[in-house]
Structure formats: C-alpha cells, structure tokens
C-alpha cells in the first residue's frame, strides 16, 4: 500500500551535494508493521518527512495506495519523537486529540466519539480534561498516539516515538502500540535505533545506512501476540538480534 521508489533527498540548492536520502526503495503491505532501524544521522527523519509529505523529495516518488504523495495525505498520521513539543500545552488533552479532526470534515459528534474512543484505547479515558503538562512523559506520548488514532489513518508513521521515555514506560507503550495496531487495523512504519524494540514490534525490519538506503531487510518470524518476557527469550529473537547488530555495525559504504 505504501511504495517508495528511488527516493532521493538533497538539502539546499546544489543537486550534487551529498544526499540525506539516496535511491531508497521499499514497499509496505496493508496492515504490515515495518520497523526501520538505523543509527542516528543516517537520514531516517528526512526519509519520514518525505514519506509524510512534509518535505518533497529531490527525485523519486512515494505512492500511498497508488496515489502519489505530494502533500501530507489524509490517510496518514505522524507521531513525532518529542511529545513535549508536538502536543499543544494550551489545549486540554481532549482538545489536543480532537484538534486535527475539526479540519477533516467529520462532524462534531463523530469527532467527539472518535476522540473518546482513542483516549480509551490508549488507557487515558477520564484524562481528557487535564493539560498535557499535568501528565507523565509516557502518558503524553499516549495522547499523541490517541491523536493519531482518532484521525483514523490507514498508515501510522512513527519517528522514534519511545526514545524519550524511560525503559519501564517504554515496554508498556510497545505493548499498547501492538494492541491498537491490531484493533484499528492500520499499517505502521516505525523508525527506531533500538534493535530489540524493532524485533519485538515488527513483521519486517529494514536496516538503513547513511545516506538513507536499505542495507538489510529481514522478516521477523516470531508469533503474535508477543510478550515482553517469552518473546524476547526465544532463540529466534537472539539470532535476529545478532543478525541486525551485524547489519547495523558493518562499515558504511564509501561515499
């Protein structure tokens, strides 16, 4: 459903400058959970900005359900890494979630229902009247996820969404995400630099190297539903971790 072909992004006016994304191609299937793994500075965020239509690529194209992405599409929602900056501190939690819906052309009633349903799905029912800064970091990122879910996207793009919360909260958010991914029947493209997180969540893991290019691709054969304890103890998990670690650690191709 999401096709990326020959994507290239160069910042600045000089087309011969070193690209942030170079000839990147991959596809994501309907309702697939794909993790993109890459060390920092490999162009992950640039890639996501092009995928989401926030930036336009220098060359190549992104197609979502066979329509070329030239501006942020309605069927896509983006969850940013830094929840403290993507949530609006002057709006209550409920307003933060419903804010994008008011411009989507759904009625007020439907918007309210979708908001409450999404807050409930992320375990924040009853917190709608608080302000984001009255919540913990993990809960704030759940508000951001609720906002994305209420928008009813077909694809959810997530840019290291759990990188700024502590480990304990993080595992909880991972399970929550897997739960809503199945409940809302969406496709997820999840960027992370954490190998374990990628394996635990994904159907398929793509390893990126700088400038953003697929270095390695592997499917994750682990059964679902997954469990933080038993899934991570399976021998396949260890093998995948070694495989991905090597793929990440290999010397980058000469520029």
């Amino acid at each position: 459903m999401l096709d990326v072909s020959q994507l290239r992004k160069v910042y600045g006016p000089d087309p011969n400058a070193p690209p942030a994304v170079a000839d990147l191609s991959f596809t994501v299937a309907e309702q697939e959970f794909v993790c993109i793994l890459g060390s920092s500075g490999c162009g992950k965020s640039t890639m996501l900005r092009c995928l989401s239509g926030l930036d336009s690529p220098t060359a190549g194209e992104v197609r979502l359900r066979d329509r070329r992405v030239t501006k942020p599409p309605e069927e896509m929602a983006f969850v940013f890494q830094d929840y403290s900056r993507s949530l609006l501190p002057w709006m209550k939690v409920r307003r933060n979630v419903s804010f994008p819906l008011r411009y989507k052309g759904v009625g007020n009633r439907a918007a309210d229902d979708a908001t409450e349903e999404a807050l409930d799905a992320v375990g924040l029912a009853g917190k709608g009247d608080l302000y984001p800064w009255q919540l913990s970091g993990g809960m704030q990122q759940r508000v951001a996820i609720a906002r994305a879910l209420a928008y009813k996207p077909r694809v959810l793009l997530m840019d290291e969404p759990f990188a700024s919360v502590d480990a304990q909260t993080r595992t909880g958010l991972e399970d929550l995400l897997l739960d809503v991914w199945q409940r809302y029947e969406i496709t997820v493209l999840f960027v992370t630099h954490d190998i374990d997180e990628a394996i635990y969540l994904a159907d398929r893991v793509l390893v990126l190297r700088a400038p953003a290019q697929i270095r390695h691709s592997t499917t994750v054969p682990l059964a679902r539903p997954r469990d933080q304890l038993t899934t991570k103890q399976q021998p396949e998990f260890g093998q995948l971790r070694a495989e991905l670690f090597n793929a990440l650690d290999a010397q980058p191709a000469p520029a």
Partner: protein, 266 residues
C-alpha cells in the same frame, strides 16, 4: 503563618515610610515646591473625589485605552503575519525599522495639522508609539514557534489560517504579552505628553495648567493620580496575563530547558 502575613505586609512598609517621612518633613519645611502632605491630600480629595473625574480622568483614560486597543488590534496581526511569512518580513523590514525609530512625540505637530486638536491627533501619537513593542514582539513570537508544532498541524492537514490562529497565536502569546506590558507604560506616557500640547482637558493638560498657574499642590495631585493610574493598570494587566498564560507558567516551571537540548536525528 506569621511569616506569610509578614510577606504580605512587607511591600507596604516602604511606601508608608516614604509618606510618613515626607509628611514629617514637609509640614515644618513650608517649601513652595514641595507643599505639606495634608495640603496635597486635601486638594486631592477636592479635585479627584470626584469633581474632575468626568472632565479630565475619564477622557484621558478613554483616549489611552482606545489607542492601546488599536495598537493591539493592529500590532498583533501585522506582527504575526510578518513573523509567519518570510517574504512579507523581508519586504517590510526597512519601513518597520524606520518607523519604530521615530520618537512618537516628534509627530505631534504633524498630527495636529492632519487631525486637528481633538482626539484624533492624540490617538495617532499614542498608537504610533505604543504599537512597536506589540508588533515586534508578535513578530519574534511568531518566528520562535516550535517547528514540531507546525509540522504536526501540517501533517494533519490543518489549514494555514487555523495554524495561525490555534498554534502561532497561542505559542507567541507569552512574547505578545511581554510587548503589551511595555506598550501599556508607553501609552500612559504618550497620553500625558499628547495632552500637554493643544488640549483643553485631560490629565496631562491638568498637570501642565496647574504648574503654569503656580497651583503647585494641584499639580502634585495630578502627578500622584498618574502614578496610581499606572500602578493599577499594571496590576490589572498582570492579573489578566496570569490567567491567559497559566499554561506557559506551568510548562516553564516544570521543564526548564530540557526539551531544547534533546538531539533530533538529521
């Protein structure tokens, strides 16, 4: 408990001491320029409670507040638009820089020519001086909006005007309020100055007229009333600011500079 009461009373000590000191000194001193305190208080009661409230205080306040409202009504949208659009900003910058550097009182003669001696010329002069802190702070506030917030709204296809209204305006509001507070003081000053030229009533007119007729205690009552006015206006302003910017206080108290230092991937 006693400590809290102490802290509440603390700010009152110095003003009371100054008043007492002046009172004790001024009664035996019999200085023409610094009349005895009881005399000033007596005149103050006679003049401002409530004889000249309607003829001088109300017109002055009305001028100042309407000019202040015009400054906000023009300064905020223009400032936000200039901050939001680089094209507009580049085009308008020289003109803005020139106009803001003009001392507003220098335009009083011109204003009198164009608008006559009525309210128009006074409003013009006050707005011309008070608009700049509001406009420039709105501009900086709009430029300083967190890019993540705007990207978020853009990714959800929130239209441009709604982004301006629901993201840029609130995000810039702490800066806008800082500008509005500066402008409030400027508006008061320019109200007095504008009323000292070609006027027939108003606080500035009253103070100057009293001085010209050597009515020194009366002159002092006008000055004291202006001081009280400035103090009260500022206090009211701070109350409003506290209400509107409650979220900003909460956020800045909770999170000193943490969010800014977090590195984001290229």
């Amino acid at each position: 408990m006693t400590r809290r009461i102490g802290y509440l009373l603390l700010p009152a000590i110095l003003p009371i001491a100054v008043l007492l000191g002046y009172g004790i000194w001024s009664i035996p001193a019999q200085n023409f320029y610094f009349p005895p305190l009881p005399e000033i208080i007596g005149f103050f009661r006679d003049i401002w409670l409530f004889d000249r409230i309607g003829s001088d205080l109300v017109p002055s306040l009305a001028r100042m507040l309407s000019a202040y409202a015009i400054s906000i009504g023009l300064g905020v949208p223009i400032g936000l638009a200039l901050g939001f659009s680089r094209l507009l900003r580049t085009a308008c910058e020289p003109v803005v820089e020139f106009l803001r550097a003009l001392p507003a009182p220098a335009l009083i003669p011109f204003a009198l020519l164009i608008f006559g001696a009525g309210n128009g010329s006074k409003l013009f002069v006050i707005v011309l001086g008070a608009i700049w802190p509001i406009l420039l702070n709105s501009l900086d506030g709009a430029r300083g909006v967190d890019r993540t917030q705007l990207d978020m709204a853009r990714s959800y296809q929130v239209p441009r005007l709604a982004r301006l209204r629901h993201i840029v305006l609130p995000a810039a509001s702490p800066r806008i309020f800082a500008g509005m507070r500066t402008s409030l003081a400027i508006a008061l000053i320019l109200m007095v100055v504008s009323e000292m030229v070609a006027s027939s009533h108003g606080l500035g007119y009253f103070v100057l007229q009293a001085q010209r007729s050597f009515a020194i205690p009366e002159m002092w009552t006008g000055i004291i009333l202006l001081g009280i006015l400035g103090f009260l206006l500022n206090a009211i302003f701070l109350r409003i600011e506290n209400r509107v910017l409650f979220w900003h206080r909460a956020v800045t108290r909770k999170r000193p500079t943490k969010a800014r230092s977090e590195a984001t991937d290229a």
